[in-house]
Subunit: 252 residues, 2 copies
Amino acid sequence: MISAVVLGTGNVAKQLYTALIKSPGLELAQVVGRSQESLTYFSEVTTSNDFRNIVNADIYIIAVNDDAITSVSHSLVSKKGIVAHTSGAMEMDIIPFDNRGVFYPLQTFTANKALDFTTIPICIEANHLDSLNLLRTLGDLISENVYEISSGQRQKLHLAAVFSNNFVNHMYHVAESICLQEGLPFALLQPLIRETAEKINTMSPKEAQTGPARRNDTKSMEKHLELLKHSSQRELYELLSEAITQVYEKEL
Amino acid sequence: MISAVVLGTGNVAKQLYTALIKSPGLELAQVVGRSQESLTYFSEVTTSNDFRNIVNADIYIIAVNDDAITSVSHSLVSKKGIVAHTSGAMEMDIIPFDNRGVFYPLQTFTANKALDFTTIPICIEANHLDSLNLLRTLGDLISENVYEISSGQRQKLHLAAVFSNNFVNHMYHVAESICLQEGLPFALLQPLIRETAEKINTMSPKEAQTGPARRNDTKSMEKHLELLKHSSQRELYELLSEAITQVYEKEL
């Protein structure tokens, strides 16, 4: 039986908590956070708002904002277990102990929206082989996809996630704005959005690309630019179309 | 019982055929296309590769490339039924007959990938009320979402679809490139991509936005720009981040 302590009370901590309390092979010994109020969510385990009062465990998972990881880790100076953060962007080495690691669930976490953790990839890294194995055992308890990757790879993966999550979401935002201007429900686009996301399970994005820029159909692109009211949207349209055209220009 | 003829043999024609042959309230009288070879797909109905040999029907659906709609419609000069095209971008009025309309299924169609037509929105438009009602009846046979929209609205909707499908897919392409450079499987990102697309069913994209640009976290953005190898990817990163920051700057 592995024991773990979660430090933090945000979305990642909440989702981890929900997944971990369901795992028979794991004892979630404590959740530690600054305010008593934010700890009420974690009602099925022992909680503490005193960082000098952390119980002993095999693994300490620091699930706080990137900027706070190092300072939170200082509260674990006297502990022997592995100290792992959950950040996609930060290097493993920002944790100032020899027995350090990373336990990064690659997903977007939203307050009050339950997720099926079994399909979420968990990217692990550790400074020692036995710590890596321990993180893998923990990962296997809640997910079917546990990958060992380096800090360098994780930073690139996090960058790729910015494109496929943050920037994609902004495309949805622009599409919604265009719909609302015309009095059209954004829901009209949702089946298209779903299919676009599903398509790449069976073909590569390069192969799946369609549209005026893919065909270098300048007439349609000019018409679209005329229809766009905001200069920032026109700039986006132009740069994205140019980027797509560049990918395929050799094939046209 | 409504009768319909489909002109065209591409992806839209194929998907319409698959949906229409399953509808008890409709007789798919004929599929017409240029080459006998492309017509072999439509094995459950009468086909013809002779545009001077089109049977009579209530509705003629022109499912061909935008550039070919007008010329294909000329083969229907002696017909009485409504002539409708399936394009998101073209105005209804490019069809040179009084009894004209549009039957636009808002989805991305890929060869050999079956779709559930019942969830696909169908946007209809017609020059006469009884024709509009006929197109609505046809739409209702295969889809649960039939909307009447004008040519102007449809062009904006098509533009919104470029953002939420074509441009989104390019983001997936960039993300895949970054993964492959690091020897990471693109499949790692697929749960994130799925969740990003699903999230907007329960919250608006504006509300769902996360990431460094949303927080105006310049440190993380600078780090990401350093990690990007291609200048075209850096340009995209900068412009997209700027666009996101602009949306939220008043709130920060």
